[in-house]
């Protein structure tokens, strides 16, 4: 075999992958070489010196390739006089190491003793205690008795805030640089650094605001000691009290696998609650990373303002009611609607919920009618192109590099899907050719080989030019991300078709590491499309609302104030809202149903890469709320006498029987786990906490038509007419900000509140000048009959006659859902006479 080489470990010959370093290679064959600074996701630096081994080279007969033997018949090995660090040594054929000799064992003992001279050994009060590499290795290699005087220990800051999310204990830090290297190498935000030297070497943040990144929490996972802790979890629980429950992050379409660390909590009245969210290893999805939104955004499940009882409108007011009353009323209204029933589902409604909701609507219609099943938000479309030429089954951004071209169009991945951003960035670092096509600068531009600036409306023309680019035409692999910035529903559908056309016309469909990804808005928007929901349906439901409108997790009023009138309480119109909180939409409903949060129940969601994944019940559910699937199934029972299914698994089983793409994707199948490399979740916790290990399943990607050999021929849509703006008019373009004020998220992470910017509008410097506006001014933006106040930001790189407005920052006067023409005027500050 050419892809493996011979490595002799303690006299035994092993075959290990070529190019691996000694730590990884030894681990693959079951030999744990202890480490502190080394991490398989980071370039080795050889700093901690824990992985010292005896290193040698066996003589190899040039002609036969066999080992030259000594007089005992063993391979003759020339040993180096000095110990070598295993992490920085790449294996070559015939390399030999000794890992159990007294020299090596003593070296490990020595290094641990050195580290402990400056470590406080405060394990009893340390958050890492119980899942700490240093603690474990001290048990194995520690001297047992200190030769170092306690009085000579350095005393340093114990609670140094590196930002408001992460605290640094400077006494515990062992200067391994995993945190600084993670930020610099993997994220590309070099906001942490060493300061000073020698024994005074310490971690500092170099950014303002401090530790300015969306990925800060990951540094606490990979910290090999308790030096970095999150403000959210520190002193919250001991690791051995925690049970890791597999879950899926509900915040964006990446579908990061997470582990909810739960315990029976006295403070929570003896209920099982989630104490923290940690990444769960899935090398095909999020590897071992999650963004700070996913990590800190779980508090909504225990928020005091959660709805716990159904509400029924009586005399113009919503008053508490029983489930029986609420469901009977809904069943009655549906029966009376004579088929005029529709439903709109938001971004985090599970496949099981969607399926049962679909049954409600279909039963009311007496058959199939997907025109009445809408998704929200509804500005994104074109899911049929994903079904045809979506990212091929088996693709993995972790394996993309040279030869692969990644195109990101009309999207700011760092805000919309941070882990996709991270993985695309790292693929680009490995040599993938990244092309960004946006009307404004985005974070990914820093890593792009070509940044093609387009105008809003110029997307199709830009795509057309791509087909001629050698980097696309001649690339081994092409992946295209299609976002929706600057587009309405029809525009996005056209763009999706255009991207599909680029892929098919250049022969990049139906092959691993090729295909199309829609940057959807929600964690299960893909699932909604798969189960027959569509943006087109939403559009028609909103244009002509049905007699009974069911809204599940779709806060259509908060996102578009114009929708208030749709929900006006008129004779013959009835609105059902399933929500966790009394949102702006719920406040307008006729019946409000309290739904469960993602940690209180089980189910499946389908990621933007079409990976169907399971999440499990982690937390004791609140008294009152029910899972949507159960509620909708009960409505069906009331209406048709059908026998409701008893579990989410049973609902999924039905889905697998009825939906072709989901064939065979039972809970058992989705729960399967294969061995992953790097092995970060094993018995040794060298690479981080105990939560990485994936016991909940890797999920399954469903195959596209192209994967099954049916590559369609897709025509490139015609270039549309450019939008004409009158002078003084602005194109208001909604953009996405990761941390926003959506009710579920705002209730989720009080810690992140200060990270949510005030509502702002970004203007081109020329426009700002004309409008007499400068940075920091207040301005009123009007569009579609809605006005809102925003803080002005001026940016020369924004296109002229454009106003970028971040969505969901201003819930009082919502941002338009799709680009529309509007105007802006300055708020004159009137001097007060005191």
């Amino acid at each position: 075999m050419t892809d493996t080489v011979r490595l002799i470990i303690d006299g035994v010959v092993h075959q290990v992958p070529k190019g691996a370093n000694l730590v990884d290679a030894a681990k693959m064959v079951g030999n744990d070489i202890p480490v502190f600074c080394y991490h398989p996701k980071l370039a080795p630096v050889g700093m901690c010196r824990m992985c010292l081994v005896e290193l040698g080279q066996a003589g190899i007969d040039k002609d036969t390739g066999a080992f030259q033997l000594d007089d005992k018949g063993q391979p003759a090995i020339r040993w180096q006089p000095r110990l070598a660090t295993a992490c920085t040594t790449v294996v070559t054929d015939g390399m030999a190491i000794k890992t159990t000799t007294p020299q090596v064992t003593e070296a490990r003992d020595d290094i641990v003793e050195f580290l402990l001279t400056s470590h406080p050994l405060d394990c009893p009060v340390c958050d890492k205690g119980g899942e700490c590499p240093l603690q474990n290795l001290t048990m194995r290699h520690g001297p047992g008795e200190s030769r170092f005087l306690y009085e000579e220990k350095q005393h340093l800051a114990k609670h140094y805030p590196l930002g408001d999310l992460i605290y640094l204990d400077r006494e515990r830090c062992i200067q391994c640089a995993r945190c600084t290297r993670f930020q610099e190498e993997l994220v590309g935000d070099a906001v942490l650094a060493f300061h000073e030297r020698g024994r005074r070497l310490q971690i500092v943040t170099t950014s303002n605001p401090p530790f300015d990144t969306y990925f800060s929490g990951n540094t606490t996972d990979i910290c090999p000691v308790g030096a970095l802790t999150t403000a959210d979890f520190r002193f919250g629980a001991r690791p051995w009290e925690l049970t890791g429950v597999p879950s899926i992050c509900p915040h964006c379409p990446v579908g990061c696998n997470v582990s909810a660390s739960t315990r029976l909590d006295r403070e929570s009245g003896g209920k099982i609650v989630v104490k923290r969210i940690m990444p769960r290893q899935n090398e095909s999805v999020n590897e071992i990373w999650i963004c700070d939104k996913g990590r800190f955004g779980h508090h909504h499940s225990r928020h005091g303002e959660r709805l716990t009882q159904p509400l029924i409108r009586q005399g113009g007011k919503l008053v508490p009611a029983t489930w029986d009353q609420a469901l009977a009323l809904i069943a009655e209204k549906i029966s009376a609607a004579d088929g005029d029933v529709g439903a709109i589902a938001g971004g985090m409604v599970s496949n099981e919920d969607l399926w049962e909701l679909r049954q409600v609507v279909e039963n009311a219609h007496g058959g199939k009618d997907h025109k009445s099943l809408g998704v929200y938000p509804y500005r994104l479309s074109g899911a049929e192109w994903v079904a045809k030429v979506g990212l091929s089954k088996g693709s993995n951004f972790g394996q993309m590099g040279k030869g692969t071209t990644i195109v990101v169009i009309a999207s700011d991945l760092s805000e919309e899907a941070p882990i996709w951003y991270l993985r695309v960035k790292n693929a680009a670092d490995r040599g993938a050719h990244l092309i960004t096509l946006n009307a404004r600068p985005t974070e990914l531009d820093r890593f792009a080989k070509s940044k093609l600036k387009i105008s809003y409306g110029g997307e199709i023309a830009a795509l057309k030019s791509l087909t001629e680019k050698p980097e696309v035409k001649d690339a081994a692999n092409v992946v295209i991300f299609v976002g929706g910035e600057g587009l309405d529903r029809a525009g996005h559908a056209t763009l999706m078709q255009g991207a599909a056309s680029v892929l098919t016309s250049t022969g990049h469909a139906g092959k691993v590491n090729n295909g199309l990804i829609g940057v959807w808005a929600g964690a299960n928007t893909q699932g909604a499309f798969d189960l027959g929901y569509s943006s087109e349906a939403t559009e028609s439901l909103l244009n002509k609302r049905p007699a009974v409108l069911i809204l599940a997790d779709a806060d259509i009023v908060a996102e578009d104030a114009a929708n208030v009138s749709l929900l006006a309480h008129r004779e013959g119109k009835f609105t059902v809202v399933s929500e966790m909180f009394l949102t702006a939409t719920a406040a307008q409903a006729d019946v409000v149903l309290p739904r469960q949060s993602f940690v209180e129940r089980d189910g499946t969601v389908t990621s933007g890469e079409r990976r169907v994944q399971r999440f499990y019940t982690a937390q004791t559910p609140l008294d009152g709320p029910r899972p949507d699937w159960k509620v909708f199934a009960e409505i069906n029972r009331l209406r048709t006498g059908s026998k409701p299914k008893l579990s989410a698994a049973a609902v999924m089983k039905e889905i697998t029987e009825k939906i072709a793409a989901y064939k065979g994707l039972t809970y058992a199948e989705l729960g399967k786990v294969n061995k992953q490399f790097p092995d970060v979740g094993g018995d040794d916790p060298y690479y981080g906490g105990t939560a990485y290990e994936n016991k909940g399943g890797l999920g399954v990607q469903w195959p596209t038509e192209a994967d099954q050999g049916k590559v369609p021929s897709v025509s490139m849509p015609a270039v549309g007419k450019a939008r004409k703006l009158e002078s003084g008019e602005l194109l208001i373009v909604p953009i996405v900000e990761l941390f926003d004020r959506k009710p579920a998220f705002a209730a989720s992470a009080p810690l992140l509140h200060s990270h949510v910017p005030a509502p702002y509008v970004v203007l081109n410097s020329g426009d700002a000048k004309t409008l007499n506006l400068v940075d920091g001014d207040k301005a009123i933006l009007s569009s579609g009959g809605v006005e809102g106040e925003y803080t002005v930001r001026v940016d020369a790189a924004v296109p002229a006659q454009t106003a970028l407005v971040a969505r969901n920052l201003n819930l009082k006067s919502p941002t338009p859902a799709v680009p529309m023409v509007g105007s802006i005027r300055k708020v004159e500050v009137v001097a007060s006479h005191v």
Binding site: R49, I111, F114, L121, S146, R197, R199
Partner: protein, 431 residues
């Protein structure tokens, strides 16, 4: 014999471009430009010139490691002279700079480098403008910049001042420092010859090493080998300091003995008896003043045979009045202060050594502490990322080897009670 390196002793003002040229300056570069780059490397190889920064690595061989690939390559002149007792490079930079510049350019031509970075320690801030002014003179004369000497080959020269860290004399930390990064050594491989400055092939040579090069090219390898010994040929600057009558830089061919060197520098100060010699600043092991030592030839191999190193030949003389505990403490403090902190044994070990040596010197230690510092020093050896961690153990190990009694004399049989009878204070041997 005329000085080859400290030429200003014979020709005042040789460091000025005009004077330098009047005395054959740039003849070496001119001659080199008429040769093929590989031929230049071969001459330096043949001369057996060895690196004067301390390691004594064959210079020509170092140059030959640079791959003949496309793209930029660099020369870095290590002028971060920071070893205690070393002040030879400073004299060259100040008084014979053109000779260094010419040597650097010959090296740059030999490996086809496009730029020379002179990395000088931050404390040389006042020499910086002088170097830059001399570089400008050489540029006007056509020796720096595009198409040097009509050869078609061009080379820039930059002066970069450090910020006061001993570790930046370590070649890879030096490269990091030029790149604006934290001055910490890099992991090798890759070696600088393959991926050095800005990840490009780089030759890093000491000032004194390169100052030898012009005359090697002009007079030939055989001439150079006729000076000094067979394995350690050429002239060498010896920095004499400590308890010596006439401290300063002395140029001699390699191979004279310690005794001859001390006599040349006027003998031990005040006619006192010699006690110990540090042949290579703080980082080489101490040697006792025995006849065997004094009659040892100053060559790379002979000093190594004594269990020490010739290093940069910064010879510190310690007379009979020297308290070896005090001297060791001074050096331990230096290494603790200068450890970069990147790797564990050096960062923690230097601190621990210092703390215990302070206690010994303050007479607050027991004989067990003397054993402890020896153990800690041994524990550090061979485990560090760069050589600093090993250097830091040299004074301790060698002082204990020859003068252990002096350390024991400072100790008390039993540990004194802790200064403050603490409430919860954990004492020695506690957890």
């Amino acid at each position: 014999m005329a000085n080859i390196l400290l030429r200003e002793k014979d020709i005042p003002g040789i460091g000025q471009y005009d004077t330098y040229v009047q005395h054959g300056g740039y003849d070496g570069l001119k001659k080199a430009l008429g040769m093929k780059p590989d031929e230049v490397i071969q001459v330096v190889k043949d001369s057996n010139l060895r690196g004067r920064g301390g390691a004594g690595f064959p210079t020509g061989m170092k140059w030959s490691f640079v791959p003949k690939t496309e793209g930029p390559k660099y020369i870095t002149v290590n002028a971060d002279e920071s070893e205690p007792g070393t002040f030879k490079d400073r004299q060259i930079l100040e008084y014979n700079f053109q000779q260094l510049l010419e040597g650097s350019l010959i090296c740059a031509y030999a490996v086809q480098a496009s730029a020379v970075y002179i990395y000088a320690r931050g404390e040389f801030w006042d020499i910086g403008p002088h170097m830059e002014a001399e570089i400008e003179k050489a540029r006007k004369a056509g020796w720096v910049g595009q198409n040097i000497g009509g050869s078609g080959w061009g080379c820039e020269v930059y002066v970069h001042l450090g910020a006061g860290a001993y570790i930046c004399g370590e070649e890879s930390a030096l490269l990091n420092s030029i790149e604006g990064k934290l001055g910490q050594p890099r992991v090798r491989p890759p070696f600088p010859a393959v991926a050095g400055l800005y990840a490009r092939p780089t030759v890093i040579n000491n000032v004194e090493t390169l100052a030898n090069v012009p005359q090697i090219i002009v007079q030939g390898a055989a001439w150079f080998k006729s000076i000094g010994t067979e394995k350690s040929p050429g002239p060498k600057i010896f920095c004499m300091s400590g308890h010596i009558e006439k401290p300063g830089n002395y140029e001699f061919p390699l191979g004279l003995t310690f005794r001859q060197l001390i006599e040349a520098a006027g003998g031990v100060r005040g006619g006192k008896k010699l006690k110990a010699i540090l042949p290579s600043g703080a980082s080489g092991p101490l040697l006792p003043a025995t006849d065997k030592v004094l009659d040892t030839a100053l060559t790379y191999e002979d000093v190594a045979a004594l269990g020490s190193v010739l290093g940069s030949a910064s010879v510190i003389i310690l007379d009979e009045s020297t308290d070896m505990v005090w001297a060791t403490l001074k050096m331990a403090r230096f290494f603790k202060h200068e450890s970069c902190g990147k790797c564990t044994p050096c960062r923690e070990g230097t601190y621990w050594l210092l703390k215990r040596l302070e206690a010994i010197y303050a007479k607050k230690a027991t004989p067990a502490d003397v054993q402890l510092i020896e153990d800690v020093a041994k524990q550090m050896q061979g485990k560090s990322l760069c050589a600093l961690g090993d250097f830091a153990t040299s004074p301790v190990m060698s002082a204990l080897k020859y003068w252990r009694d002096e350390f024991l004399a400072y100790t008390q049989p039993q540990k004194p009670a802790p200064a403050k009878a603490g409430k919860d204070k954990v004492v020695a041997g506690g957890d």
